[in-house]
């Protein structure tokens, strides 16, 4: 990267803009330039340079007038699951075709309200169903990281793979993501970035393409814990248009970054020590516990006995809700249409041509588990298992645990195509540490904490009490601080793409 403006943290960029060391237009131009050179990463599905420059100009005039918002002039990428008014929104699927929403999602509208600049729409797995960005109808986004000495392309994680790749490659200062089973935290871990899934209900889901409505939640990606805290403050908040959004004040999350973790009780769940976990993941996890101890926290082993049932229950709940949500893609009101002899055949042809194999598979599983005679055996049972998973966490928190420390993923980023086996379950296992958090509705943050033997980033996850994102930000910052990776630029991938 030739321009150092791309390497700024979001917090430093805000400071530089306020001091008029550079303009919002210059900052946006630096990112548009980097995006142009990084098209091989396939992180952006749509670039919006004209809109970006127009928004940046407005920011410059607001800064000049002393009317700057909390994100004034900050260039961001937006996952293609968020409806953006007049800007093509595909959810990574062919079935939405050239859909241009006549409305803006609540979360993104709050970012623009606070002065942020839209650089473009970021690639993701089709309808956010995937853990590698390989199910996107527009081809996979590519991880800017490569194993040491290798030129093999790796996945950036998924489903928010465009977001994680763009943030890691300095193609934006931050990005939005959505997380249904790990889709923010797993890609953050694979790219050495920070990502938080807030408590269910913290951010409005209005205007986000629906996947599994009882699990979906929006959250930010950035390169530091503080930057994600700044972004979440703008994204969160009550929205009358989403009845599941919570009417609670939004705290100044960034103020929690740097707060002492002395006296906090951190739980290490023994059930997360899964079979076949690579020694380097286990080692990093224990290292994280040591760092928190050194910072004054108390680390205790805890038990979350229903952990192993979370992933199978998820693969009932998520497909069931998806099959219902995706019924709207029928070729009538928007998106693709493939003709048929009658209206049913038109639906069937449209959906066969428009949905990719993973989405089709999940719709069929969901349809099956919701079909007559199976509803109780599958869906109701899985919802009961959710009660047990949530109870495990409730009991840990009631016993005085402030946050739970786990690895984010069972491995570092893997090669594109390497999991294209016949068994879809192999890919699902990527979410083994993250999916419990969605099932229980809790907040979870992924923070980079080290590197694998081949030099690829690895992350740790912290899980918090409902609506206690502040504790997560302070503990994650303690990990970030102890890992000491930011100052030494150890979280910057070597540029091979431009």
């Amino acid at each position: 990267m030739t321009n150092s403006l791309n390497d700024l943290t979001l917090a430093d960029a805000l400071r530089g803009l306020a001091k008029k060391e550079f303009s919002a237009v210059e900052l946006t131009e630096a990112h548009l330039g980097a995006m142009e050179k990084a098209r091989v990463l396939n992180a952006y599905l749509v670039e919006t340079p004209e809109k970006a420059l127009e928004m940046a100009k407005t920011s410059d005039s607001r800064i000049a007038k002393g009317e700057a918002g909390p994100l004034e002039g900050i260039p961001l990428g937006v996952k293609d699951m968020f409806a953006t008014e007049g800007v093509r929104t595909t959810a990574g699927s062919k079935i939405l075709d050239d859909f241009r929403p006549p409305y803006e999602s609540t979360v993104t509208s709050q970012l623009w309200r606070d002065g942020a600049v839209l650089l473009g729409k970021l690639n993701n797995d089709e309808f956010a169903m995937g853990s590698s960005n390989e199910t996107s109808a527009f081809g996979p986004a590519i991880n800017p990281w490569r194993a040491r000495g290798s030129s093999e392309n790796l996945v950036p994680g998924g489903s928010s793979g465009g977001s994680s790749a763009a943030v890691a490659a300095r193609l934006c200062l931050g990005a939005t993501g959505t997380d249904t089973g790990g889709s923010i935290r797993q890609p953050a871990a694979f790219t050495g970035t920070v990502g938080i899934k807030p408590t269910y209900g913290r951010c409005s889901r209005w205007g986000i393409v629906a996947f599994a409505s009882s699990l979906d939640q929006a959250g930010p990606f950035a390169r530091t814990v503080k930057d994600t805290a700044i972004l979440l403050r703008s994204m969160a908040g009550h929205d009358p248009k989403d009845t599941t959004s919570v009417d609670m004040p939004v705290p100044d999350y960034a103020a929690a970054v740097g707060r002492s973790v002395k006296g906090l009780r951190i739980g290490v769940p023994k059930e997360y020590r899964v079979e076949g976990m690579p020694p380097e993941i286990e080692k990093l996890w224990m290292q994280g516990a040591e760092w928190l101890k050194a910072a004054g926290a108390e680390v205790v082993e805890i038990s979350l006995p229903h952990t192993k049932y979370a992933l199978p229950a998820y693969y009932i709940v998520a497909p069931a809700e998806a099959s219902s949500n995706l019924a709207r893609y029928d070729g009538v009101r928007y998106g693709m249409r493939v003709p048929g002899r009658d209206v049913i055949e038109m639906y069937e042809n449209t959906r066969a041509a428009g949905f990719g194999p993973e989405v089709r598979r999940r719709i069929m599983i969901g349809t099956y588990v919701l079909s007559a005679g199976y509803y109780d055996a599958y869906y109701v049972k899985a919802q009961k298992v959710r009660t047990l998973i949530k109870r495990d966490f409730d009991e840990a928190f009631a016993a005085g645990i402030d946050a739970v420390l786990t690895p984010t993923t069972p491995s570092p980023a893997f090669a594109i195509g390497s999991k294209a086996s016949a068994d879809p379950v192999e890919m699902y296992l990527n979410d083994v540490f993250t999916v419990t958090v969605n099932m229980a509705g809790l907040p979870g943050i992924a923070v980079p904490a080290g590197h694998s033997a081949e030099g690829l980033p690895l992350g740790l996850q912290l899980i918090g009490r409902p609506f206690d994102e502040e504790t997560l930000f302070s503990v994650a910052h303690a990990v970030e601080d102890a890992a000491g990776l930011i100052a030494g630029a150890a979280l910057k991938p070597e540029v091979w793409w431009s």
Binding site: D342, M346, T387, A440
Partner: protein
């Protein structure tokens, strides 16, 4: 529980997704892999557990039952794959 080919065809029909006959065996295999994975739950007795209905205990907000938006047919129809005036066009449904 495992599905057979007839069930795969029935589910595809319910889901309104056209499936080629030659895709059925492969789809059957994939669906059965997922179903055998979720079968792990059968080891768990949940007879005395209430299903989770909301992840956070909160009272559903009610709003005034009034019109807050709408009346803009052009914006509603702007993404229609086929339209005539202010109507969506679909293949004939009623003879």
């Amino acid at each position: 529980m495992a599905v057979d080919e007839a069930t795969v065809r029935r589910v595809a029909r319910l889901a309104r997704i056209a499936v080629n006959p030659d895709e059925i065996p492969h789809l059957k295999e994939e669906l059965n892999a997922i179903l055998s994975f979720v079968e792990e739950l059968s080891a768990l007795d949940v007879s005395d557990v209430e299903p989770l209905t909301s992840v956070m205990p909160m009272k559903m907000k009610a709003r005034q039952d009034g019109v807050t938006d709408g009346g803009d047919a052009e914006r509603v129809l702007m993404n229609a794959p086929m339209r005539e005036g202010d109507f969506y066009i679909v293949p004939k449904v009623v003879e």
